[in-house]
Symmetry: C2
Subunit: 238 residues, 2 copies
């Protein structure tokens, strides 16, 4: 299934014990109620607290033979309005939303000043950043690099190498948008990358300091991930 959500009020994608409200937890609860069996879903991207999704993908297996159209309709009528299943289809048993994905695309939406309306779905640079310079940094990201400096993850068996196939900033109306596509992403990686580029674009970090992060894996202590409000898991490709 494809899922869209406004992540503002959720503690991220991943199911958590107790009363912590997460997107995965909400969907599993609703699908369990509809099918009358315990349902466990696998999401393509484990988005952080407050991060949104336009095109999250999740897979699951159920014994229920309910038609998918009815299952999707029932789920959407029970889910909070900030989570929508936008499509559902049957896939081979070998399909796994996370492991079968060949690439993920994220977009980060940035405003130059806070807005009463747009800030729910955008980060803010509090000033005019040098986007030409930010695009030079973005171009550096393309290719296979060790992104350890741009993550708080403890490296798992897959390590910290990611292959970025596109990374660029473009203008869309009132917003600057950063589009990045890669085979995989480390935890908080897009938010660290965006924060680093904004720091350079606002003249608080040098281009050299940024490029050094990619090479030696060290991160300036002052660098914190950009506001999750601006980040969208946009599309997952298979």
């Amino acid at each position: 299934m494809q899922i869209e959500y406004d992540g503002t009020d959720y503690s991220g994608w991943q199911r958590q014990p107790g009363d912590v409200v997460t997107v995965q937890g909400e969907i599993e609860r609703v699908l369990g109620r509809i099918t009358q069996e315990p349902v466990s879903i696998d999401g393509a991207g484990r988005t952080d607290r407050g991060v949104h999704a336009r095109g999250q993908v999740a897979s699951f297996a159920v014994a229920s033979e309910m038609p998918l159209g009815r299952m999707m309709h029932s789920a959407n009528s029970l889910l909070p309005s900030t989570i929508r299943i936008t499509s559902m289809r049957q896939v081979p048993e070998s399909f796994h939303a996370r492991f079968s994905a060949t690439s993920r695309e994220y977009r980060y939406v940035l405003l130059e000043r806070p807005s009463a309306i747009d800030s729910r779905f955008a980060g803010c640079s509090h000033g005019k950043p040098d986007v030409v310079l930010m695009n030079r940094l973005a171009a550096m990201l393309v290719g296979t690099h060790d992104f350890a400096a741009f993550s708080k993850e403890t490296p798992d068996q897959q390590g910290t190498l990611c292959t970025v196939t596109e990374a660029r900033w473009y203008r869309s109306g009132r917003f600057h948008v950063f589009r990045i596509e890669a085979n995989r992403f480390l935890r908080s990686m897009v938010r660290f990358l965006v924060a680093g580029m904004i720091e350079v674009g606002m003249g608080r970090l040098s281009e050299e300091e940024f490029s050094r992060m990619l090479v030696d894996g060290g991160r300036p202590a002052s660098l914190v991930p950009a506001d999750p409000a601006g980040l969208f898991l946009w599309k997952v490709r298979y």
Copy 2:
């Protein structure tokens, strides 16, 4: 001052007694606290519960000689993040945000299906409306007409005549947007107009029934105002 707000969680613009949270009430409370004097503000448009504003304008008089830049900055730091004063300047005493306005522009944002993300700032037609037909209705609205059928207001001394200078639907990405400009608007008028046009566009009301409303002032009992989530007070002209 110019004001932007996400109206979702407010009981409209207008100050109300008791604990009812309104946009005017919040701004008056904050300005009163900053200037240490009771402040009463006049808004150009009294938006309904749940309606947003990009360009609301309000005027007020204070004895305080605090520089406007500082007043605006202080107010924004005390206001909830869903209300932003975007500019403030001194005006002649004769200026009144409501009575001096020559026109108001509203925009209504419409989606064809509900969205977890976009529905906070959009209404929904739950299907594909005939926008060409809706634009034919919109064209009818231009000029001076009696809009009594499109309001729940009891007519005041000004009556129910309004002069519409522009009314049209256009496409903007995923959205259909209705832009309307007039010298004045009756209570809930844009939402009734949009609801009527959607009903015709979805084939549930005829073009003739809609145009008859403009002529004889009667309203089909089934017609309720469109979802306030899609409506923005966009600009006030002086």
